[in-house]
């Protein structure tokens, strides 16, 4: 990057100007410091961490307890990653991962640990306003789960993994079908499968009928599809993002899948029917969404009893409202828009650099996302930190790995 990394003397919080400039914060990345903004209940703290030597998890944990003045309280740490997912910090590894992926700032969310029942909801940052009409079903189902407070199966905290796939709508689909959601975002893995034309056998009132169908023909080794274990060769594809593929040509289905590739939901009829979900009596006893981490094997497809996501009563989710507006299921609002005309001081610079290929970078986070996490978050956070004063100053710690820097803390 040739662009100058001038620390921004931006002291007009909330103003349009500062917001614009904040989107340019990658400029500051040259500094060896990571901004950390941590939130506990309604309070925010801002600190700085050395990128190179942030220290270990326990130190960090203690530091946060200190600056939030909750030394004795058992808490869980989570951070919002670039895709807006809330990921846990509970060991050195994922702490370092969090620090290194901070771009530009690391947002920490601290929640009180309430025994073992509280887990980080994997889906909490992806509010579905639409889709397959799943939201309603899911919340009602999860409410009942919660009210019964059934111990059930527990899935441990996802260890530094992001959800990449899930089985959904188990309760409304026939047992022989499986609806799989693949989350392409965030991973650089290819989706990695091929489809083909084939013949499917249907049982109709006239008897058995052969109809053309579309099947998975191949899984690419190391691809997303293969790593989930939820899709297999010769699985018949029935729906793509809720749209029936019957009567559509292979090319049409291909185009539909590619067009939905950022958030692909395929309903398949697995060729191997042995791993099917078995309904256990009560429909609502189980959660409706199962999730399989990338570490998950094919067998884990059975364990679809995951913590209920996105229910209002969940304190974690409530505090996660910072991530509102994230819309990774809506590709379009992820369009990258470079508005050079707003960048008056840099204009000449920009123009001369115009054949730089900076636009071809695949990572969206470096440039302004109009409705994205970055924008809404930074806005609200600026206001918040102003209301609360700047407590980070007072709670400065003596640990060497931490360092305060007024320039960086102020936004």
């Amino acid at each position: 990057m040739v662009l100058s990394a001038v620390p921004q003397p931006t002291s007009q919080p909330g103003s349009r100007m500062s917001r614009q400039q904040q989107h340019r914060t990658p400029l500051k990345l040259t500094d060896n410091v990571v901004e950390v903004k941590s939130k506990f209940e309604a309070e925010y703290r801002r600190i700085a961490l050395k990128r190179n030597g942030p220290g270990g998890f326990t130190e960090f944990y203690r530091l946060l307890q200190n600056i939030h003045r909750i030394p004795g309280v058992d808490v869980l740490l989570g951070y919002a990653d670039v895709q807006g997912d809330l990921l846990p910090i509970n060991n050195d590894d994922n702490f370092h991962k969090a620090v290194s992926s901070a771009n530009p700032l690391l947002r920490i969310i601290i929640t009180k640990s309430e025994g073992e029942h509280v887990v980080l909801p994997t889906d909490s940052l992806q509010r579905r306003k639409k889709g397959l009409g799943l939201t309603g079903l899911r919340t009602s189902g999860s409410d009942s789960t919660r009210s019964k407070n059934k111990p059930g199966l527990m899935i441990g905290l996802p260890q530094n993994f992001r959800q990449i796939s899930s089985i959904i709508d188990v309760d409304i689909l026939p047992e022989t079908h499986r609806r799989v959601r693949l989350h392409k975002h965030g991973t650089h893995k290819p989706l990695g499968f091929y489809i083909r034309d084939g013949v499917s056998v249907r049982v109709t009132s006239q008897g058995v009928e052969k109809v053309p169908g579309v099947f998975i023909s191949r899984l690419v080794r190391g691809g997303l599809a293969e790593s989930t274990g939820l899709l297999g060769v010769n699985d018949e594809i029935l729906e793509v993002n809720g749209i029936d593929v019957a009567g559509k040509s292979l090319d049409q289905v291909t185009d539909m899948m590619v067009a939905n590739s950022h958030n692909l939901i395929v309903t398949v009829k697995p060729s191997n029917q042995r791993n099917n979900v078995v309904h256990r009596g009560s429909k609502t006893s189980m959660g409706n969404s199962g999730s399989v981490g990338s570490a998950g094997s094919a067998g884990s497809a059975l364990s679809h009893d995951s913590p209920s996501p996105a229910s209002q009563s969940n304190p974690i989710t409530a505090s996660n409202s910072i991530a509102e507006g994230d819309s990774d299921d809506d590709d379009d609002d992820g369009d990258l828009i470079l508005e050079n005309d707003c960048l008056t001081p840099y204009e000449s610079h920009r123009v001369t650099n115009s054949n730089n290929t900076n636009l071809n970078r695949p990572l969206p986070q470096s440039v302004s996302l109009p409705n994205s996490v970055g924008a809404s978050l930074s806005d609200s956070s600026v206001l918040m930190s102003n209301h609360n004063g700047n407590p980070a100053h007072t709670s400065s710690s003596s640990q060497e790995s931490m360092r305060e820097d007024g320039n960086i803390i102020t936004l």
């Binding site: 489809i195 559509k248 067009a259 379009d332 609002d333 990258l336 470079l338 508005e339 054949n355 071809n360």
Partner: protein
């Protein structure tokens, strides 16, 4: 309540949609693909062409055309009009006969099939017995004589196809009477020809393949005369006075046989000739002879060329007195006929009509030198392959006249005589406006067609080859002929598919109809700016080279080289004359082009980037490289024709090698890393190619190939940087889903010539879904698309609303997306692919007028998808309105060739030589409306008139008594009444 109201609104919207949109395929322009049969009715003055795909097309006066399609997908082998009637019979490849008629319905004639028939032989007979080889429509209009491969003649009553078994002429009947000394009497072979005696309808000549001809009396059912020709027979012609018969043979000879009036004595061959003799000749496939009032007759025959030296020529020889010309056509001759003068069409021959495989040529036989008459329809669009097309609606009269004037100067070699085929009446109202269709061709020409009405008429032809050095010899004239050459060849026809240099091919065209500025761009990255000039001018065209790579390194262009520009001044004839040339470097095909005549700017794009050129100052304003560094394919130039062959060869070699490698790979594990990576890549490639039924599902990424290819480029005067000042702007969209916007600063008009135009990068939008951007439109404050440049200045469009906020509409292959301006943020979208699985292939902005109220209309987007469906998408709300299936999904070239008009019509190629015209609008429909009436034949025996469309009447016997005639007259009257009331309706609706 609310729900009810909304429902009401929806139904109201549905009603409105019905008033606005309606889909029709209206007419086919151009020359039918693979014609296989020709027919002509002198009494109706109609020409019929049958094609190998089973289509039958009738043409009369310009604007009078009919089209029918046989259900069977078989080639039409013969077309015969029933004499003096509106029926015609077609014979198909599958041996079925079909009866068609022109039936009047609401004052317009329609071509419809009214019967079909297949000969059935006696049980157990081989199929050859009934395989029809010759058809004669008897002049009575009631009989059809069918000669078969088995040598029998079947007689069938028409139009009902009733076999008259007792009158059949069997081979045995004929063979028994054949003179004993005739060599081939044991096997007469199939029936090659059937001809009626022009003066005695009871006599027909039956020509057998072996050569024997028999004159048969239909009344007495006996042979009158035997003509013992010994060469394989090709065709027979009975001279008009009935006095002699001409026969043509497979050895290139023709013979003249006298017909004896006394039915007894056998006449000898009077005259035999091999016109191009001495050495072996090819067959004369058809011969006709026509008398003239005074002087010698015209003799016309096809073929007969010396086999060794000219066996590959497609010739028709015309001999009249001392004039002897061998018309040399560029494609195979299907059939020909002559048109004769006079009310009865029995006068002197006036024109020779020749159907060859790729065009219809009409020769004026009455003007000295027998010039060609320009055809008003059936023009071969593909005289050089069409590479692109561009439609301009509502041409101002002035430009129209200037283009016509320029075109007239080019067509001086055509005959001045009017078009000789004049059947039917064209009842279509005059076209409401003048529309121009421009087609770019592979040989570097641009043809201008009058697309206002049913006939796609050639107006003017622009050639850009003169600007460049080409391999072609400029003295290579089509019409040259050496003195004293034998045979006396003369080249006719304009079909010439051989291009001197494929780099000359025209890829993009943009015409400003107000200023007369035209820009065309071609295969080798050449962009020409042309101006309409009524005078010839000699000028040098200076080339400006644009380096689109802009310092991008590591690429090597492997495609064709750029064209060499002539440095000396070139003389340009009146018409569009080039004055500015831009050559892109690398010389990749130009993929996007636009011209703004008010700003005097041309913008263009290739697979490497885009540029902006100021054609007043002849200066480059902006060059932008859009190339992705990881995109290697873009550099190879695979879009070039020559290259693609090479590439596919290389890939097939790779494939072979690959299969060997994969066998070995199991044993050799320690391969170098690079090699492994290469192998994997190749494996993937091979896999994709070897298994075409498999499709990869992968998100688009920035390193896909051709992401930098510029798909669309657009000028707009809009609010790019702030909401209070509109500025000129340039927009470009790429294959990788990226949109670039530049703010343009134009100097004031008085300094336009000396102050530079500048462009400043203002915005870049990367669509998250990364689908190729195929269209960019800016909508004004009312949600209407911005008008074309100069449109407002000419008072032809309402000036755009500059008060309200503008919106940017980006059309990708997958989505329609509306953004706000000047701050770009997504506002609305329509996902096409994610829901439908189809992708946008072609898109245009059109205005749809309501059929009910004159002053209501809407703008909309017209979209053609890769599924071949057309959609109308509303503006500015981007909602799907209607969709219709239009082109076959598999017809990729048809989909790619589609062009939309500004008033909801469109054209696409249904074959290399034919445009199908379709209309989505209820108000703008160009379709043939014509009426064909039965010619009144003075004192002729039986004759029918167009029948009302009552099914039973089709089978009614043709006999009419006085009563019937009266009834028919009444019907006729009522039909005419219908017609006038229809016209009135038309007027009314126009007034309303």
């Amino acid at each position: 309540m609310k729900r009810f109201r909304r429902h009401g609104q929806e139904s109201q919207r549905d009603r409105l949609k019905q008033e606005l949109f309606q889909f029709n395929k209206t007419v086919e322009h151009g020359f039918p693909h693979q014609p296989s049969a020709l027919g002509y009715s002198p009494s109706l003055q109609l020409l019929a062409i049958g094609t190998r795909s089973g289509a039958i097309k009738l043409y009369g006066a310009p604007g009078v055309e009919f089209m029918g399609l046989h259900d069977e997908n078989a080639a039409v082998t013969q077309v015969h009009f029933l004499p003096h009637q509106v029926e015609l019979v077609t014979l198909l490849d599958d041996n079925s006969l079909h009866m068609w008629t022109l039936r009047a319905h609401k004052g317009l004639s329609e071509l419809m099939e009214i019967g079909r028939f297949t000969l059935t032989g006696p049980p157990g007979a081989p199929p050859s017995v009934t395989r029809v080889t010759a058809v004669l429509a008897h002049s009575s209009g009631e009989l059809l004589l069918l000669g078969t491969e088995g040598g029998h003649v079947f007689i069938v009553e028409v139009p009902g196809f009733r076999e008259l078994e007792e009158r059949n002429i069997s081979l045995d009947q004929v063979a028994s009477s054949v003179p004993d000394d005739y060599i081939g009497r044991r096997n007469l072979e199939h029936i090659e020809a059937l001809q009626e005696n022009p003066v005695n309808p009871n006599q027909v000549v039956i020509g057998y393949g072996r050569g024997l001809m028999v004159i048969w009396d239909l009344e007495k059912q006996c042979a009158i005369q035997h003509i013992p020709a010994t060469q394989q027979l090709e065709s027979v012609w009975w001279a008009e006075d009935g006095g002699y018969i001409l026969s043509s043979h497979s050895d290139g000879s023709y013979c003249r046989w006298m017909v004896s009036v006394e039915e007894v004595n056998e006449e000898e061959e009077e005259k035999s000739d091999i016109p191009y003799g001495h050495f072996p000749c090819k067959a004369i496939s058809k011969i006709i002879q026509l008398p003239t009032q005074e002087g010698p007759p015209f003799l016309l025959f096809s073929g007969g060329m010396p086999r060794a030296s000219y066996g590959d020529r497609h010739c028709i020889t015309v001999i009249h007195s001392k004039t002897h010309v061998a018309l040399d056509f560029t494609s195979r001759i299907i059939d020909f006929f002559a048109i004769r003068e006079g009310p009865q069409h029995i006068g002197d021959p006036s024109a020779l009509v020749v159907l060859v495989e790729e065009e219809l040529v009409v020769i004026d036989l009455q003007t000295e030198g027998w010039p060609v008459i320009q055809t008003p329809y059936l023009v071969p669009l593909h005289s050089s392959a069409i590479t692109c097309s561009h439609h301009v609606s509502a041409i101002p009269l002035k430009l129209w006249e200037r283009v016509i004037a320029a075109g007239d100067l080019q067509s001086t070699h055509y005959s001045k005589r009017p078009w000789p085929i004049t059947g039917g009446q064209n009842l279509a109202p005059d076209p409401p406006q003048r529309d121009l269709l421009l087609t770019g061709h592979e040989d570097g020409t641009v043809r201008f067609w009058d697309a206002s009405g049913v006939c796609l008429y050639p107006m003017y032809k622009l050639s850009t080859a003169g600007v460049f050095h080409t391999d072609a010899d400029p003295n290579d004239n089509m019409n040259q002929g050496t003195e004293g050459e034998w045979p006396p060849f003369r080249k006719v026809g304009c079909f010439d598919p051989y291009s001197d240099d494929p780099r000359l091919g025209i890829q993009k065209i943009h015409l400003c109809k107000y200023s007369g500025y035209l820009t065309v761009a071609g295969t080798a990255g050449q962009i020409l700016v042309l101006e309409l000039n009524d005078e010839a001018a000699e000028q040098t065209v200076e080339a400006k080279v644009v380096d689109l790579l802009q310092g991008q390194e590591g690429f090597r262009w492997k495609g064709h080289t750029q064209l060499d520009v002539r440095e000396e001044p070139v003389l340009f004839p009146p018409g569009f004359q080039p004055f500015s040339l831009v050559q892109c470097q690398p010389p990749a095909v130009v993929t996007a082009l636009t011209l703004h005549s008010e700003w005097k700017l041309v913008a263009f794009g290739t697979s490497h980037g885009f540029g902006l050129y100021d054609y007043q100052q002849k200066n480059n304003v902006l060059i932008k490289c859009t190339l992705n560094p990881s995109d290697q394919l873009a550099m190879e130039g695979p879009l070039s024709r020559v290259k693609s062959i090479k590439k596919s060869l290389r890939q097939s070699f790779r494939r072979i090698r690959r299969s060997r490698v994969s066998l070995r790979k199991h044993h050799v594990n320690n391969a170098a890393k690079l090699q492994e990576a290469n192998a994997r890549l190749e494996a993937e490639l091979a896999e994709m190619e070897l298994a075409p039924v498999q499709r990869k599902i992968e998100a688009r990424s920035s390193d896909d190939s051709f992401t930098g290819l510029v798909r669309t480029i657009y000028f707009a005067d809009t609010f790019l940087s702030d909401s209070s000042h509109n500025t000129p702007s340039l927009w470009a969209g790429t294959n990788g889903g990226c949109v670039f916007a530049y703010m343009l600063r134009l100097p004031p008009v008085e300094h336009r010539a000396d102050e530079p135009v500048t462009a400043q990068s203002a915005k870049e939008i990367q669509l998250m879904h990364r689908a190729p951007v195929v269209g960019i439109v800016v909508l004004d404050g009312h949600g209407a698309p911005l008008p074309e440049p100069l449109e407002v200045a000419h008072d032809l469009a309402r000036s755009p609303d500059m008060q309200g906020s503008h919106h940017l509409l980006v059309i990708s292959e997958e989505q329609f997306k509306v953004f706000t301006l000047p701050k770009v943020s997504a506002k609305m979208k329509l996902k096409l692919t994610a829901v439908d699985g189809s992708r946008v292939r072609r898109v245009g902005v059109a205005w749809f007028g309501s059929s009910r109220s004159e002053d209501y209309g809407e703008s909309g987007l017209v979209v053609l998808t890769n599924q071949g469906d057309v959609h109308v998408v509303s503006l500015p709300t981007v909602k799907l309105q209607v969709h219709y299936p239009c082109v076959r999904r598999e017809d990729v070239s048809g989909i790619a060739s589609c062009v939309f008009t500004k008033h909801g019509q469109g054209f696409y190629l249904i074959s290399p030589s034919e445009f199908e015209r379709f209309s989505l609008s209820t108000r703008c429909v160009v379709e043939p409306r014509c009426l064909v009436e039965v010619p009144l034949l003075s004192g002729s025996s039986t004759q029918r008139r167009p029948k009302p469309d009552v099914a039973s009447s089709a089978h009614r016997n043709a006999r009419q008594d006085g009563e019937d005639a009266e009834v028919l007259q009444e019907i006729q009257k009522s039909l005419e009444g219908d017609q006038t009331s229809f016209l009135e309706n038309n007027v009314k609706s126009a007034v309303a």
